[in-house]
């Protein structure tokens, strides 16, 4: 992926998180499957996890609860993430 494709992909991941405004988070699996609604039909879980780590580092999303097991992690959008999409 080039820089522009990464940007579009990360925005799509953020859009999936934005669609969930509840107190629960979404896991990598759930996000990867839902991404098809945003135009990304075949997405590897690793790509989603990388995008989430990047977005989280920018404080646009956060982990719901810290868990030891990698497969049990879940994320939700932060107010900064909502503001970012509003721009």
């Amino acid at each position: 992926m080039n820089a522009m494709q990464k940007e579009v992909f990360r925005r799509a991941v953020l859009s999936v998180l934005d669609a969930n405004r509840t107190r629960f988070g979404l896991g990598v699996n759930a996000i990867a499957l839902t991404l098809s609604a945003y135009g990304f039909a075949k997405t590897a879980d690793d790509e989603v996890a990388d995008a989430l780590d990047y977005i989280a580092a920018k404080n646009l999303c956060e982990e719901v609860t810290k868990t030891i097991s990698k497969e049990n992690r879940a994320w939700r959008i932060t107010s900064a993430g909502i503001a970012f999409l509003d721009q």
């Binding site: 579009v8 969930n20 629960f24 979404l26 896991g27 699996n29 945003y38 999409l85």
Partner: protein, 209 residues
């Protein structure tokens, strides 16, 4: 990874139907759930929906209403609200002697499973609508099979996670009469009871190929 075929969705924030969603949210969550449930499940025509919304002081054009109806983003928002409600209900029904952190993790898993299930249903409804417009019924079967397969894969993985959680719950509860399989079945039944009830009511119109 495939190239996005809907770049319009990814650029900017002013998605179709967004203002209606904001207006519904500014009132009460049950109101948004009630409206979306009836509207997205084809129990309300555009005219009825417009009238219903006007009753709550929301004025909206037919074009905006169509945008809301055809927006996957809005349907996912609805699915997440439904899933959260379902997870909260199921969590409240868990035995009191399970520790709070375990309850939270079970509710979290239930939420994800419900979200995927409900979200996929909404996705299928939109695909069916699109296929009807384009007159390409055959393609719908393939898309449905692909979605079913993806969802099945997710549910199998979630079951494994569920199983580990239940081991923990069982450990806390000590000896229990229920087998693990029965507990999984009971928890899954609790997680999807809204969906089951909706299906049983006959109100849910799942598109057929």
């Amino acid at each position: 990874m495939s190239t996005p075929n809907r770049p319009d969705v990814l650029v900017g924030r002013k998605l179709p139907g967004h203002s209606l969603w904001e207006q519904l949210q500014s009132r009460a969550q049950p109101l948004a759930l009630e409206f979306c449930s009836a509207f997205f499940n084809n129990e309300m025509s555009y005219a009825q929906a417009k009238k219903w919304l006007e009753g709550y002081g929301i004025k909206i054009s037919k074009t905006a209403l169509q945008g809301f109806y055809n927006s996957m983003d809005m349907r996912l928002r609805f699915a997440s609200l439904q899933a959260a409600q379902s997870a909260e209900t199921a969590k409240a029904e868990l035995p009191a002697d399970i520790e709070q952190a375990t309850k939270d993790r079970i509710a979290q898993t239930m939420f994800e499973m419900s979200f995927l299930n409900l979200g996929e249903n909404q996705k299928l409804q939109l695909i069916a609508l699109q296929q009807n417009k384009e007159g390409m019924q055959g393609n719908f079967v393939l898309k449905k099979a692909k979605l079913d397969l993806d969802l099945q894969k997710f549910l199998v993985e979630s079951d494994a996670y569920f199983s580990r959680l239940l081991d923990k719950a069982k450990e806390l509860l000590g000896d229990n009469k229920l087998s693990q399989a029965d507990r999984i079945a009971a928890l899954r039944s609790a997680a999807f009871k809204d969906v089951t009830a909706l299906k049983a009511s006959g109100k849910l119109q799942i598109p057929k190929a």
